[in-house]
Symmetry: C2
Subunit: 315 residues, 2 copies
């Protein structure tokens, strides 16, 4: 690997494209292409990858091969292999498949919770509790993260109260979640709100405060990531080529583009552990696996600046 | 006007589209369309507009009607009418036309200075001095701003040293510029650099520190504006529909989109004085005046969020 990884990273970029991206497009990427794409992401230096969802294949045919994808991802040493699970049944399958980390969607908006997982928020917290118990029994080393959807606003119910977000963060931590992330599922977040809400959640649950999952729906994705960085967030979800959104939040679109996010942090002198040239090269297997699908990214289009030197320790 | 303007604004959005935008596209917008567009910008609540450049029409035919455009813009009470002038001759014409504020491009990069205005940086500072003297003689109420191009990097020479930027800011202030803004002409700025450089310039020239003029070339435009806001910048250049760039900085593109910038600040609870619905409506006369020209903006495409309430004092 490149010399980037010889010093500790300042920021962890959690790549969600193979899950969040692929499940939001109609086309099904063939398994062989998924594996090549994941290999390219690993080669670029990404060290946490959400590789798929454990959901019934009849609901999301894009994820039918998730166990095989997990098996392949596990052959890469040093990579945290994550999967999304909406319920206990999915969690059991993911744990049996050998993932290192589970992520569970828990909606701050009751309306979105019912639309997304057909459960109330309270019932979803019970599910988190059951999943944590199962994890303790059969795979105690595995981490459980909850990703709080619609934490910054909801396209169905509109505003989401900050008290609800803090309450739900406490509930999730109380149910045993190791990390509680906040997601701007709908692209409604603004930097002041991001700072305020992460501060409040950290005051409530301390070091269990997890990742920022921001969308670029209204162009504020990177500004919101910067705001989260400013208040101590160190893990950021992003999707190569900006692939993905949420099919159950009408009007939502546009994950933060991994390439632009890495460029921002590296340009700031922070070590992401990611090599930007290789990251941009990882768009090729994505394009080959999803012919005709639009992918985004300002940095890949503009190219790296003249005189660009990644901020890394060379040996 | 709407109730937005009944309390002081927290942020001044300086619209540069009619100058920076129009001079960077090949098509020439007819004068009548320019006037309708400016009327729509004023109706949206914009209170500072860079309406054109005083440059020879054979160099920039897009700006041949600048005096007429200024004359019309001056009929709007409460609007600061700005024009760009590259030299003393342009300044004299602009002052005779009655503008309220001049902006002069002064490049931090010697290579860009020679390419853009065919003068060294030192010679350009002399020009600033001569323009300030002329202003004192014939129009003492007019403000003179320098906009420091390539302050964050240059596509021709690569890195631009921060010492050069601070030195040039002092020179411009010493030559009598009322405001010294910093421009990311080439889209190479990052938030850490923006904070550092505005802090250094403010330490050197205090309250003469002027606007942030950011580009979105690599997607960091709004993050860089947020960073500038965090260190006390209160004036931001932006262009409706993201029109414009710099034709003499190869590879540079993409002014910050006014609509997205206003959305960010308003969502943060800051009063820009701008009505977002009317601002989005001001895209129509722009489109009609430049048929077929691509214009950008994530917020206009996504629409305002459900439950959106602009942060204004209503009476």
């Amino acid at each position: 690997m490149s010399s980037t990884n010889l010093r500790p990273t300042d920021v962890l970029i959690s790549e969600v494209g193979p899950r969040d991206g692929l499940q939001s497009v109609k086309a099904v990427m063939p398994t062989a292409n998924k594996l090549l794409w994941i290999d390219a992401l690993v080669a670029a230096g990404l060290r946490e990858i959400e590789v798929g969802s454990f959901v019934p294949a009849k609901l999301l045919p894009q994820m039918a091969d998730v166990a095989e994808v997990v098996r392949h991802a596990l052959t890469h040493p040093g990579v945290t292999v994550m999967a999304l699970v909406p319920n206990l049944r999915g969690a059991e399958a993911a744990l049996r498949a050998g993932v290192h980390k589970l992520t569970l969607p828990v909606s701050a908006s009751e309306a979105h919770s019912l639309a997304n997982v057909r459960k109330t928020r309270v019932d979803m917290v019970k599910e988190v509790s059951a999943i944590v118990q199962l994890r303790d029994e059969i795979a105690p080393g595995v981490k459980v993260e909850t990703g709080m959807s619609t934490a910054f606003g909801c396209t169905i119910q509109g505003e989401v109260s900050e008290d609800d977000v803090v309450w739900l963060a406490k509930e999730c931590a109380g149910a045993g979640a190791d990390e509680v992330g906040l997601s701007d599922t709908t692209g409604m977040a603004n930097p002041a709100q991001v700072r305020r809400l992460f501060d409040k959640v950290r005051a409530a649950i301390g070091e269990r405060t997890g990742a920022a999952h921001m969308h670029n729906t209204r162009g504020l994705g990177l500004a919101n990531c910067l705001a989260a960085w400013d208040v101590g967030v160190r893990t950021f979800d992003a999707s190569l080529g900006g692939l993905g959104g949420c099919p159950y939040a009408p009007g939502a679109s546009g994950n933060v583009v991994t390439e632009d996010l890495v460029f921002m942090f590296e340009a700031m002198g922070l070590n992401t552990g990611v090599d930007l040239d290789r990251l941009i090269a990882a768009r090729e297997p994505l394009k080959r696996g999803l012919p005709g699908e639009p992918i985004y990214g300002m940095t890949p289009e503009a190219g790296l600046p003249k005189g660009w030197v990644p901020h890394r320790v060379t040996v």
